[in-house]
């Protein structure tokens, strides 16, 4: 499912099913091509930083080339050339062939290797020498007020909200960075710091924390857009654990603290987009400790309490078409509180008498689980195998259509991964109108797992794009390897991603 599809769907009216319901036909149609927009958006974000020396995501530095004998081939009856690719083994590792250059560089890593361990006296980087020079994590929290210029009440306010960080950069050169702070949030400094002399805040009154790294529970994905049917903004991820580890994708409703932090702060300022349950390569659960985003491949890397690193391709699942039929016209819709569910979550759903044109005789609500088990909502709002029809509220022979049905609420527990479908059969004047809606209890399974054996407290990618695992008093730096090769048939060349001592081609 595409993040940017919602941006296109927001062109529809706010009451339309296309905009509200991600399981609708319109949403699925837009999803089919909007994933390319997600990809293009991420590439544009990277391109924006192309000439910036402090950018994230440095790319791949080199490729190794092997000149081989010309490859054998056969020609099929249709004239297509079929190449016979060799078996390539390098340093006793068999390499996997890829088709495209992008796959050579950015396919899932096949192994990791420990490079270096750096002892860390303290991960707190608020002042003094930083044991591992890096871009620092900044958390601003607890702000009550962001100062705003007013010609009468606050004429001297410069209308700037920033942190002024001074210290020394990675080369020991004295440097000052002005970090803009639009609101309480988690930020990363642009400069790579080796020593912090002072941190001053201007224009707001929140608490400031600087870390080399800390598992703060939230990660910002700057490469993707967070869009709901109401707002759009930066995509943020919250990671938690409950039976399964899960990610909550959300975005902020009000982006700028100066617009609402005026002494009182609303309780909730986030709009949830999606939730995904995380499993390892074998589909088993684990307890997540921290999450990081690879700035080159944009994959999510999670580390668990056993020190295992799980790698994810962040493609949110797409809703499937309905398994049972429904009518083109519907009278009563079922609206879930959210389109996605955490495993074992009990979620509230609502009926909505959308079109009170016809008087209701009876209503039946069905639920189809991912394993195709059909249950009916019973009179006591539990789910059962036997069909049950809710009666009308007032006699449809005499009452107005809108008086014949009173909307109800009910719960459903999502204890299975997959698409849960809800059908509402409304019988009116001898005709049955059936609506369809769905909730996805998504399982995001890792594409690679790597064991480190560490008691991990955090994971992140440092300024040189290296994978770093934090423990209580050290940072362990790993290098990722991709044992792949790309064959250039016409030039009789093999391109290898990594350095090897010897390459055997058979």
């Amino acid at each position: 499912m595409s993040f940017r599809a919602q941006k296109l769907l927001n062109n529809f009216p706010s009451w339309s099913k296309a905009r509200r319901d991600r399981s609708s036909v319109a949403s699925r149609v837009f999803d089919s091509f909007s994933t390319y927009f997600d990809f293009a958006h991420a590439e544009l974000v990277k391109l924006k930083d192309y000439n910036y020396v402090l950018k994230e995501g440095l790319g791949h530095p080199f490729v190794n080339v092997v000149h081989i004998d010309p490859l054998a081939f056969t020609v099929s009856k249709s004239g297509k050339v079929i190449w016979e690719y060799p078996t390539v083994t390098a340093d006793a590792i068999e390499l996997t062939r890829v088709e495209y250059l992008e796959d050579l560089f950015w396919s899932v890593p096949t192994r990791i290797s420990e490079l270096e361990t750096i002892a860390i006296a303290s991960f707190d980087a608020s002042s003094g020498v930083i044991d591992k020079p890096d871009k620092l994590l900044v958390r601003v929290s607890g702000s009550d007020t962001f100062e705003k210029y007013h010609p009468i009440t606050n004429p001297l306010c410069p209308n700037r909200h920033q942190l002024i960080i001074s210290g020394k950069d990675i080369n020991g050169i004295a440097w000052i960075e002005h970090l803009k702070i639009p609101d309480d949030d988690i930020y990363r400094t642009e400069n790579i710091w080796s020593e912090i002399d002072s941190v001053e805040e201007e224009g707001f009154d929140g608490d400031i924390e600087l870390w080399i790294h800390s598992a703060l529970g939230t990660v910002k994905d700057r490469y993707r857009l967070g869009v709901t049917d109401r707002v759009e903004g930066d995509l943020k991820l919250n990671y938690s654990y409950s039976d399964y580890s899960y990610l909550t994708f959300y975005t902020d409703i009000i982006k700028s603290g100066v617009n609402y932090r005026t002494g009182t702060v609303p309780d909730v300022n986030t709009d949830e987009i999606w939730e995904s349950n995380l499993t390892d390569l074998d589909g088993l659960t684990f307890e997540i400790v921290d999450l990081a985003i690879n700035p080159n491949s944009l994959r999510y890397y999670a580390v668990d309490t056993d020190g295992v690193i799980h790698v994810y391709e962040p493609n949110i699942a797409v809703f499937s078409p309905n398994s049972l039929p429904y009518t083109k016209e519907s009278v009563i819709e079922i609206q879930p509180l959210k389109p996605s569910a955490i495993f074992n979550e009990e979620m509230r759903l609502f009926t909505w008498f959308e079109k009170p044109l016809y008087p209701i005789n009876s209503v039946q609500i069905r639920r189809v689980s991912p394993s195709n088990i059909v249950n009916y909502l019973q009179s006591d709002k539990t789910w059962g195998v036997g069909a049950y029809s809710f009666p009308y509220s007032k006699d449809p022979e005499t009452a107005l259509p809108e008086e014949t049905w009173q909307d109800i609420t009910f719960n459903s527990v999502f204890d299975e991964f997959g698409q849960w479908e809800f059908y509402c059969d409304a019988r009116c004047n001898g005709t049955t109108y059936t609506s369809f809606s769905a909730v996805l209890c998504e399982e995001l399974r890792s594409v690679a797992d790597f064991e480190t054996g560490l008691e991990a407290t955090g994971i992140y990618f440092d300024h040189a794009d290296r994978l770093c695992i934090c423990t209580a008093n050290s940072i362990v730096i790993y290098q990722e390897f991709g044992d792949y090769y790309l064959a250039s048939e016409k030039e009789s060349l093999l391109y290898l991603r990594e350095d090897y001592d010897s390459v055997d081609v058979t």
Binding site: N51, V53, H463, D499, T506
Partner: protein, 283 residues
């Protein structure tokens, strides 16, 4: 069949930046190290001056100079004990002056005091200077690789606010060279201005006061403290540096010890120079 591989560097955005900065990526250099080197060039650019040349030579071959010592001034009542402090590293010597017009407090021959831990042991007992260690691995680094430098610096152009008071970006000013002849006519040494054109300079804190509002810009020399001493991975020094004679000439004792005759090392260097250019030179 066993094959050997050939590495091809893949050009990226950092290489494009490096092209603009005349710093190509080296074959075995990681992108993280290359970015660090480019950042150094951006924030501490190369240039034609002697100081810039000495600072920037190492990065051309992918090496980065290491800060080893930071020399600060000891204070008494907020005022430095040293009257006119100077730290200089020449081709062969490290000298620390509390007053430039006086004998140096320390004059260390770097060809004799071979390692930095010995240098630190000597200067850490200074009456006028504090010495802080910046590099924990400094002990057995060669002292002769200390960067050719001097703590006296020059600010070429600093614009002044149109005001009767201006605070300069640097402190410990040695001399100022203003271009506004109207405000800077007569230097006085207290704040009792009498005539237009009177001005007072707080040399310690880098603040200038004048009777008439200043404008334009000025240049000034200042003493850079705390002063960071770097250890060069690729070291250079001017060949006309006087102290160089201590390395390439033998001392001749005629009541006064003075370098006089080329020793074998000096002769080999001169021969190399003459091979390139046969013009007669020097003493």
């Amino acid at each position: 069949m066993i094959y050997s591989t050939k590495k091809i560097l893949i050009p990226g955005s950092l290489d494009e930046l490096g092209l603009n900065l005349s710093l190509p990526r080296l074959e075995s250099e990681s992108l993280g190290d290359y970015r660090k080197r480019l950042l150094l060039e951006v924030r501490d650019p190369s240039g034609p001056t002697q100081d810039q040349f000495c600072r920037n030579l190492s990065r051309r071959v992918g090496l980065v100079d290491v800060p080893v010592f930071e020399i600060g001034l000891k204070l008494s009542g907020g005022v430095p004990l040293a009257v006119d402090p100077l730290v200089e590293v020449t081709s062969n010597f490290l000298r620390l002056y509390h007053d430039v017009d006086d004998e140096p407090e320390f004059e260390i021959n770097l060809t004799e005091v071979k390692f930095l831990n010995d240098v630190y042991a000597l200067i850490s007992g200074s009456t006028y200077f504090d010495v802080e260690i910046l590099d924990t691995d400094y002990d057995y680094k060669r002292s002769l690789s200390l960067r050719y430098c001097k703590s006296t610096k020059f600010m070429d152009t600093e614009f002044l606010n149109n005001s009767r008071q201006n605070r300069l970006t640097k402190s410990l000013i040695a001399d100022i060279y203003p271009n506004d002849m109207e405000a800077f006519q007569n230097e006085i040494f207290d704040l009792n201005f009498v005539d237009d054109g009177d001005y007072y300079v707080d040399y310690l804190n880098g603040v200038i006061f004048s009777k008439v509002p200043m404008k334009g810009y000025l240049s000034y020399s200042y003493r850079e403290f705390p002063f960071t001493m770097f250890w060069n991975q690729v070291r250079s020094f001017p060949f006309n540096d006087n102290d160089k004679n201590h390395r390439i000439m033998d001392l001749v004792n005629n009541d006064v010890s003075e370098p006089k005759i080329l020793n074998s090392y000096g002769a080999s260097i001169v021969n190399e120079i003459l091979e390139v250019s046969s013009l007669e030179w020097g003493k």
